[in-house]
Structure formats: structure tokens, C-alpha cells
Symmetry: C2
Subunit: 428 residues, 2 copies
Amino acid sequence: MTRPDRYRSTGDGEHMKAEVLAVGTELLMGQIANTNAQYISSRLPDVGIGVYFHDVVGDNPERLKQSFLLAMSRSDVIILTGGLGPTQDDITKEIVSEVLGRRLLLDRESLDRIEEFFRRRNRMMTQNNIKQAYFPEGCTIIRNDNGTAPGCIIEENGKTIVILPGPPSEMKPMFEETVMPYLAAKSEYRLESVYLRVFGIGESSVEDALLDLIDGQTNPTIATYAKDGEVTLRITARHPKNGSGTDLIRPVADEIKRRFGDAVYSDDDRSLEEVVAGLLMEKKKTISLAESCTGGLLAARLTDIPGISSVFDRAAVTYSNRAKMEELGVRKETLERYGAVSEQTAKEMALGIRKVSGTDLGVSVTGIAGPGGGTADKPVGLVYTALAHKDGVIVKRLDLWGDRAKIRNMTCLHVFDMIRRCLISMEG
Amino acid sequence: MTRPDRYRSTGDGEHMKAEVLAVGTELLMGQIANTNAQYISSRLPDVGIGVYFHDVVGDNPERLKQSFLLAMSRSDVIILTGGLGPTQDDITKEIVSEVLGRRLLLDRESLDRIEEFFRRRNRMMTQNNIKQAYFPEGCTIIRNDNGTAPGCIIEENGKTIVILPGPPSEMKPMFEETVMPYLAAKSEYRLESVYLRVFGIGESSVEDALLDLIDGQTNPTIATYAKDGEVTLRITARHPKNGSGTDLIRPVADEIKRRFGDAVYSDDDRSLEEVVAGLLMEKKKTISLAESCTGGLLAARLTDIPGISSVFDRAAVTYSNRAKMEELGVRKETLERYGAVSEQTAKEMALGIRKVSGTDLGVSVTGIAGPGGGTADKPVGLVYTALAHKDGVIVKRLDLWGDRAKIRNMTCLHVFDMIRRCLISMEG
């Protein structure tokens, strides 16, 4: 649920409206997701600009022209991505120039840089790359240090048009280094957001518990977003360029934290595994993992975090029963009597990995991720997880649903939350 | 590079045009990418429908109305995603009904199913969920087995309007089970695509080597798309509903495979790990992994594939030197003399995991994923990987670049490709 547009009702005139228009048939064929629009949208609020529309069109002159005209009619800032390549299908600058009635002129410096780009890589520049050095008359050129397609910024009747290349590795640095400062100078307002992340409470319950806050607010606004068992609450304040939104946001954030207690696991948009890694490092507790149905996913997520090697010792991904016995010392009798997916096996796995690794915490998972392997007694989605520490072992049963990927992901979230809650209660 | 619109130039009238309109402020805030549009776009060509536009609007009645009217004016099939939740901000059905002049009517069966959904999960249904059982008069309701928001299909003046919930885990099954068959029955044409996936050759080299084919073709068309060391070639043929595109595609696919040899790792859009898993199962070879810098990512990716338990035995994620010695039998002298990131350590890790697990293949990775831990001698991005089999051990040095996530991902691709090449040469 989102209550998004409230703060805008005070007067759209004060608030610059942006639109992101992506050009590229590969987007319409579903080969890639429009992550550029996501990235740009996540950044513009920092300079007080709200994004009102995303559009995607293919490499087709007439449709691009229509979409661009529409964007010009309804938005203050139009950011186009893609269609700056060297081929005939790359038409973004050409169409924008045509619509605005500007000539395309050769920029000598850009051409030099493109030639240099090829020279440095010992590659031949083809004739068609010259096209990439032509720009609409009167624009500001945005250098591209990571590719051959420079971008540009055009001012036209109070509207700002930004043209950027499609590859994210080229687009992002150009956006950060040139476009963000350029737009920051134009905008009178800033949006400041705080993200509270909640695990273990459903979105509708979160909303129910906050209805009075949500209904009562215009600045800051509160929005919820749910994904796979997690709910993210966004609190956004609008404030003048030289002010701060903190005083507006803090009381609301504090009240929400009061209501949900330690179900709020982060207030700085960190993920559950980042919070767990942070707690491990802060409390100087080492950890080892014994994974069955998650097959290394817990370890992969934890080791995605830089610096984790100071607290993470090892993980044993034990798919076979033999591996569970050999690596973790799970008893044959336990496996035979209770099965690999059982409270007892989870417990022995956690105790086992803690013992062999000598870490403070030993964490285990065993379950049925599906699609095969389920029975009436032990259906797909049944998962046991255990956490062994110096004073004993905690075991939890999870009853999850969904496809293999969802069950594995939900398992990771539950396990990380269990570790987090255990670490909170431990002394450093 | 894409040569996208060619086959459409034969006459747009023959070809149904679709537009994907996503509703949700979380998309405009950049909290998520519009992966629904990507998914839907990748599927529609299979039923002969081309996607011409994506749009995203927030949960704002006026802007949604304008975007929907625009979509109705230019597209034959309009697929809306999102805005079907229980809250006041969820307005998709309401706005569509208003624009089309249809009443919203309660569907008793949907309400029963929503109530049942809550009962099964031992959760209370809140009053606002009732809203999710109201639908525009005269529509076909699409059941949602994974959530509380059913979708619907509306026929209006020769246009088809499809409304689906936003969460991908709900949207996808509904799209596959109901929407695809429904649209397939309406469309006269089919687009058939074959995807050739190539590892180890850069995109510009791929394109260079195929320029004659790409320039010469209108049906099928050839497009390339590059991502992190992989290049995907899409060959797309358009053909009448009752015909086939295979005869058009096959000679082109064969010629491309001839030119790139075994760098083409799949011709059915399977990922590198799916190909590896397939080869392991087909040749009945078991595998175990010893991971350091990938931290479980290799195992996580491999175990994401259903049925892998028949060939995958275990993985040891050995971050510490002690774990490398204890779990894999890496010698202390090796670690001291050559370091953890070395050809020698990689070799001993692979031999060690193969020995303890008794699998046909033992695969290891050790490297520096960064951002910390690099030195002049051993920079971030230096990775060694080894593969032990019954006749010996292969070791490879990789010199990668990019951030931690990219280095870990590129490492996985290189390792899977090494395993693939080894398996191809082995007898079953």
C-alpha cells in the first residue's frame, strides 16, 4: 500500500515532475528489466524531484516521437535512456532534435574522445561511431568515461531534457557526476526518506496498526511496501533545499518503532543479512552454517557482505545424509528414526557445525524446498532451522509455501531473523 | 544491438499490439524494478503478440485514467499490473471500470476464496479485503491461488484488457495459466524465438562475426544482448498460427553455432548452471564444491535447480584457513608458502572435497572478491578455480574486475563453464 501523492497536493507548481523515457526494443522483448528507470527514480527524490511516469518504447521513430511529445506535454524533466549507439536503429538524439527543431552538430571534443576510447582498447573505430559525436545544437554534453556514447542536457521552454546511454555501467556514473548536480541546482525542494524494515508481520496487519498515522499525515507521508514476508515502511518528508526533513520524520519513525518493537529490524534500509552481519561484527560473535534445503544460499547472502570474513568461519552444505553424518556428526539413528527433515536432525546439524568450527553460533537448516520430495506428513515447504550457542539450542519449525525459489528465500529470511533476535539478546 | 522492428514492417494490422501498464508508486520511487513488464513482454511473442509500450504510473486516479485512456487509444491488448490490494490506494479496477462505464459487482466465489485463503493461514480477514472480490461487470475473473487479489479480463470494442496483481509470485501463475491461453486463441500469428547463449566471447566480437547474417535477415531477425560476460543471441521468426518458425530459424541457428562452436552453451535459453546440472544428471556424474570467495554462491545456484540432489553431494564453504585445512585437508605449508589465494591451494581444495565426498568431480574456488583484501601481487579480482576428476586436476586463473557482486557472479560463470567443458569431454 502506498499513500504517495499527498505531499504533492500542496501545489504541483513547487515540485518538479520528472518522467523517465527508456528507448530500446530489448526492453519490449523482455530481455532486460528497466533497471535504469528504477535507479534514476530512486535518486531523483534526493534533489527534490518526483518521478511521475516511466515509459518504454522501441527503436521506432514514430512511436518515440509520440512518446517524447507526450512527456514534454506533462513533465518538467524528461530523462531519456538508450538509443545512443552507433547503428541506424539508435535514434534518440535524432528524434529529440527533430521534435525540438534543432540541428545535430558535430562535437569535435566528443569525436576525439571516442577515437581515443578505441585507441586505448586497440580496437578499430568504425565509421558509424562518428554519429555518436553529433548533438542537438545548444545542448550541454555529458562526457562518457565508460563507453562511446556521450549524453547531453537540453533546456527548452523551461523543460529540462536529459539524454543518457542505455548500459547501466555507462549511464550511472554520468547520471551521478553530471545530471544529479545539474538538477540539484534547479530544484527548490528536497525529499528526505527513512526506510523502516519489518519482518514477521504481514502488510495488512502493519497497515492496520498504522491507519491513524497514515490517515493523519501529509508531510511526512507514510507508505508500505511488502515483498516475500518483509514489509518496508517509507517515511518521506518534503522540505526546502536548505532545511532538513529529520525533525518531521523522527517522531513518526519513533512512534512506528514503538508499535512494532523489535520486528523493525532496520531503520537505514539495510537488509536482514546486513543487520545480522553488523550485529555479528559489533558483538564479535563468530558463526558457521549447516545448510541442506537452502543449498548454500544462506552462506552466499551472508558472504555478499564485505568484511564478513572476520566473523564467518565456514558453511557445510550437506545435501546427502552421508554428508550430514560425516561433516556434522548427525547420528544415523536420528536420520533413520526422524528423517533428514526433522527437529532432531536440525538440532544435531546446528550442534555439529558449531562443534567442528568452534564458532560462537552454529546455525542449521533442513527442509523440503520442492517441487519434488514432499509427502503428506512432510509437505513441500516444511523447514526446520536450529541455532546452537553456548547455552543451548533453539529449534524452529517453518511452514512455508510457494515455489522452490520462494521457499528458499523465505527460509533465509526466517533464519536471519532468528539469528538477529538471538544476537540482540546476547552480550557483546 | 537489436534489429527489432523489421518483421513488423510487413503490416502492423496483422499483428496484435500489446501495452503493459504497471500501477504502483513503489515503481516510481525506485523501490523495485518493473520485472512484471519484462516477464510479460518475454512471454507474449510466443502467442504472436508484440509489445509496443511499457508505462508506469503511481497510485493516482487522474494519471492512471489518462495513461489507461492513452493505452486504449493505441494498443489492442492492455495488460495492467498492480493496484489490486485491499487498501484505498489500490484503484486499478475502480479506474478501469469508471473509464469503461461498467459497474463493480461483488463476485461471491472470489470472496469465498479470499476468506478461505485467510482461514488456511489462520489469519483474520480484514473488512477491506472484501474490495478484492469486486469486479467490472461482464469480465472474466482470473483466480489467484497465491494471494488474495484475483485478476480479470475484459473485452471492450475489440480491445482486450487484462488486470493482474503486482506481486510476481501471484501474477506469473495467473498469466501463464489463464492469460496466455486466452490470448493465444485470439492471435493469428506466432513469433518463435530461439535463444543461443554464448560464454567467453564479447558482444562486439559476436556481432562482428555475424554482421553478414544480421544485415541480410528480415525473417527471422537476429538480435544480440550482452550481460556480464555472457551474450544472448535471439533469433525470432514470425509465422502463421498453424505453421512453424523452425524451418526459418534452424539454418540461421546452425550457422551461428558453426561459427562459435562450443562457446554456445545453450540453444534453449537455459542458464549455464542449468546446462551443467543437465549434463551432470545425463552423464550420472556426482559433484561436490569447495568455495572460498564465492561463499556458497556456486552451491546456491546449483541447488536452485530441482532434482539436483541426485548428483550434488555437498559443498564446503571454507572462509577461514583453519576450515580449509580441517574440511578439505589443505596443507598448512601450502597456505603459508603460497597463500589461500593460489593455484596450489585451489588444487588442494578441489582434490580435498572430491576425496572427502567421494564424488566424481570436486570443484574449488579461492580468490579475492573485494572490496578489501587486495594487494599489489594479488589484486581484487584474482581468482583461482580447480576441478578434480578421476584422471587429475585442472586449475584456472581468472583476472576479473568490477565490484564484489560482479566478481562473485563472473567467477560462478567461469567455474560453471569449466565444469561444462569438462563434462562434455567425459563419457557418460
